[in-house]
């Protein structure tokens, strides 16, 4: 079995934490449009890592007072807009929010699912998790209520996206999806509409 420690890699650094709370943190990406996919698993910091699931990606103006304006009327395609306006990379920013779902235990080999005693610090580096790490994290799905607790129906899409990514990290993705589906069915036994929606997008 892969432990958390030996699946961790620090190569794909995405950005830094710019806003943080017990349940979620916001990351500003180093690159415009450099956010991971919705539902991706990310990890903060090196000293006291915290895992989060990407739940919302926002790209907006660097300065809240200056709204972007339309610039492409005379351009042939969208890419040309960016080529003609190289300053856009500096004027726009991509942020994403992640729901905190767990952290490594004190020994560093196992995983604690749930909220850490302290949220990640501001400027903590945020890394994307590689498939082995995702697979190790998704061994246990007891963190799903934290993600499901977000506002429906977006939260449901986040869960489905996470599970699809985790499934593709597994050799037997069908078996994983079946296990995950049953777990969700238990959690949402009182809300079959949500359950149906999630199961529907799990297949997709």
């Amino acid at each position: 079995m892969n432990t958390i420690a030996n699946t961790t890699n620090y190569t794909t650094r995405l950005g830094e934490v710019v806003e943080t709370s017990s349940a979620a943190f916001t990351v500003q990406c180093y690159d415009l449009y450099g956010a991971p996919a919705l539902g991706a698993l990310v990890r903060t910091g090196r000293d006291s890592p915290v895992y989060g699931v990407v739940r919302n990606v926002v790209t907006s103006s660097m300065d809240p007072g200056r709204r972007p304006v339309a610039r492409g009327q005379d351009e042939a395609d969208e890419e040309a807009v960016y080529r003609s306006n190289p300053q856009l990379d500096k004027l726009l920013r991509t942020d994403f929010q992640a729901t905190i779902v767990g952290y490594p235990d004190s020994v560093g080999t196992g995983m604690r699912y749930g909220l850490p005693s302290q949220p990640p610090r501001i400027h903590a580096f945020v890394h994307a998790c590689a498939p082995p790490e995702v697979r190790a994290f998704a061994e246990d799905l007891r963190f799903l209520p934290l993600v499901l607790a977000g506002a429906a129906p977006e939260a449901d899409e986040v869960v489905a996206a996470f599970l699809r990514q985790a499934a593709s990290a597994h050799d037997d993705s069908q078996a994983f999806l079946m296990k995950a589906g049953r777990q969700i069915a238990r959690l949402l036994s009182r809300d079959l509409q949500r359950l149906n929606a999630i199961l529907g997008s799990l297949r997709a």
Binding site: M178, G181, R182, A185, N196, L199, L202, R203
Partner: protein
């Protein structure tokens, strides 16, 4: 013993219920609901006790009521398999019947009736073969196996015959379900284990030499299996001979042996009015017990009957009708003015020697009045003798007679509430084992049998019954009757029976064992001629050397 065996499959966990209505088990997602069969066995592992229970019902439930209104897309196998066992699940209702606690004393004393239920979340397992053996024991000098539990071929459910014969018992079921086969098995078992002596009123000539089987060759009767232990009596030796059977004795009944109460029981079948019945009593007063029927039947013309009516101050019309009806009785071939020998004495002689008696009715089996008349008359007199002997035995002057089991068919005809009070069978059923005579009632309309008689039946074997009232009658007075009802109504139409009562620790649905194959005969100790010959040769070698 107190641990579930490795083979047992987890069926689910206890989630609710009560002792009276049964315990609810939420079926585990991995256990296919279609494998849960009503009548099957489960074991529940409580904290201190292990419970044995019988499945009485299965329900499909949903965690959310909207599932009924908007079912998920079941055409998608993924969605269907995720939902089944989670949002949509099955609840199995089981009736705890027995408990077995873990300590050594309890293991020696065996399973006890359940007076408690397991706690929430106790795991439930499909019963394994060892469990069944632990409950129903093994074959020994007083147990025979009667069949296997559902879907457990090769596991033997054993019946305590010694306990069975102490009380009256009933075999019920629609025609063609297997009553006669089971009765043969029971009778052969009693013969094999020698726990009682049988007297069979064999209406349709099924038990003596050879029995019939639907769509197949005949099966061996008791006489063929146990030639030295069974005597076949016949009311109709002519027919017996036609069937290639020579009866051990003929039964002839003298007119003088017929008592007014024998006629009274026949009132319904002979269509007699109450006045007709009461005039029989005045005829007995007039002519005496020995002569009344002969004298009455001898008066063949109207004038003689009119004179008799004057003498006995009965109405002529009543006597006239009675005469016409009793003439049909008088024409029965086995009745004669004077019987050459006392049939009852002869039967008792055999029974005393431990030889089982099958009374074949031959073609009179189709005549219900003949059957009722003979069965009632013989049984009454045999019972009288038993009572006499038991009383002598209790005074220390005699040995107690052997336990006698009398098998009667079509019992609803003479154990109806109207006549059960008068017939000897009603008396035997009610007084139970006091006089060491008990009944084996074989019948297809248990609702026609007097409630009081039914309530005294020790062990009941119920095959499929369609009629609601029959089902009620069979289950009357049984704990968990409502739940057993579901079990009973779901039996297959052949060879499956619900068995419950004194001879078994708990109710059980069995597929009754085969009877009619060579192997089945051997199980009862039968050896065919070739084998006997070989045995004799070997014995010869043992004796005299090769």
């Amino acid at each position: 013993m107190n641990e579930p065996s490795g083979k047992a499959a987890l069926m689910g966990v206890v989630v609710g219920g009560s002792l009276s209505r049964g315990v609810e088990v939420r079926l585990d997602a991995s256990f296919p609901v279609e494998q849960v069969k009503v009548g099957g066995f489960v074991t529940i592992q409580g904290q201190a006790n292990r419970f044995f229970a019988i499945i009485s019902d299965v329900t499909l439930e949903a965690s959310d009521s909207s599932l009924r209104a908007v079912p998920p897309d079941a055409s998608d196998p993924f969605v269907a398999s995720v939902m089944s066992g989670t949002g949509a699940y099955a609840v199995v209702n089981v009736l705890p019947q027995l408990t077995m606690s873990g300590d050594a004393f309890a293991m020696l004393s065996g399973p006890q009736p359940a007076r408690s239920i397991p706690a929430h979340f106790a795991p439930v397992y499909a019963a394994s073969e060892e469990d069944i053996r632990a409950v129903f024991g093994a074959e020994d000098e007083r147990h025979i196996w009667i069949g296997s539990p559902l879907d457990m071929e090769g596991v033997r459910v054993c019946l305590d015959l010694a306990e069975l014969v102490k009380r009256s018992n009933g075999v019920f079921g629609k025609s063609g379900t297997g009553k006669t086969f089971l009765t043969r098995i029971l009778l052969a078992g009693i013969l094999q284990k020698d726990v009682a002596v049988n007297l069979v009123f064999d209406m349709h000539n099924e038990y003596g030499w050879q029995g019939t089987r639907e769509g197949g060759p005949g099966v061996k009767g008791l006489k063929q299996l146990f030639p030295s232990k069974v005597a076949v009596f016949s009311l109709d030796p002519e027919m017996s001979r036609r069937r290639g059977v020579s009866p051990d004795a003929e039964v002839r009944i003298g007119y003088g042996e017929i008592e007014p109460q024998d006629i009274e029981i026949l009132a319904a079948t002979l269509n007699l009015t109450p006045q007709g019945v009461s005039s029989v009593y005045s005829l007995v007063r007039r002519f005496g017990q020995e002569a009344w029927l002969e004298e009455f039947l001898a008066r063949e013309n109207r004038e003689e009957l009119a004179a008799l009516a004057d003498e006995t101050s009965e109405l002529f019309q009543v006597l006239f009708t009675l005469h016409r009806r009793l003439r049909t009785v008088g024409r029965m071939g086995f009745l004669m003015p004077k019987a050459p020998e006392d049939a009852v004495r002869r039967i008792l002689e055999y029974l005393d020697r431990g030889i089982h008696v099958v009374l074949e009715f031959g073609r009179y089996g189709n005549d219900l009045s003949a059957y009722i008349l003979v069965a009632n008359l013989l049984t009454r007199r045999i019972h009288d003798r038993y009572v006499e002997r038991m009383e002598q035995a209790s005074g220390g002057r005699n040995q107690e007679p052997r336990q006698l089991l009398i098998t009667i068919e079509e019992a609803h005809r003479f154990l109806t509430p109207a006549v059960a009070g008068q017939t000897i069978f009603g008396t035997i059923a009610r007084e139970m084992r006091k006089y060491r005579v008990s009944l084996l009632v074989v019948d297809q309309r248990p609702s026609g049998i007097d409630e009081e008689v039914l309530s005294q039946l020790g062990t009941r074997f119920a095959y499929l019954l369609d009629n609601e009232r029959d089902v009620d009658a069979v289950l009357a007075g049984v704990a968990g009757a409502r739940e057993l009802r579901t079990v009973l109504s779901r039996l297959e139409s052949q060879q499956q029976a619900l068995v419950f009562g004194h001879a078994l620790p708990m109710p059980v649905v069995v597929r009754t064992r085969d009877y009619g194959t060579e192997e089945s005969y051997r199980e009862f100790g039968f050896r065919d001629a070739v084998e006997l010959m070989r045995q004799a040769e070997e014995d010869g070698k043992d004796l005299f050397g090769p």
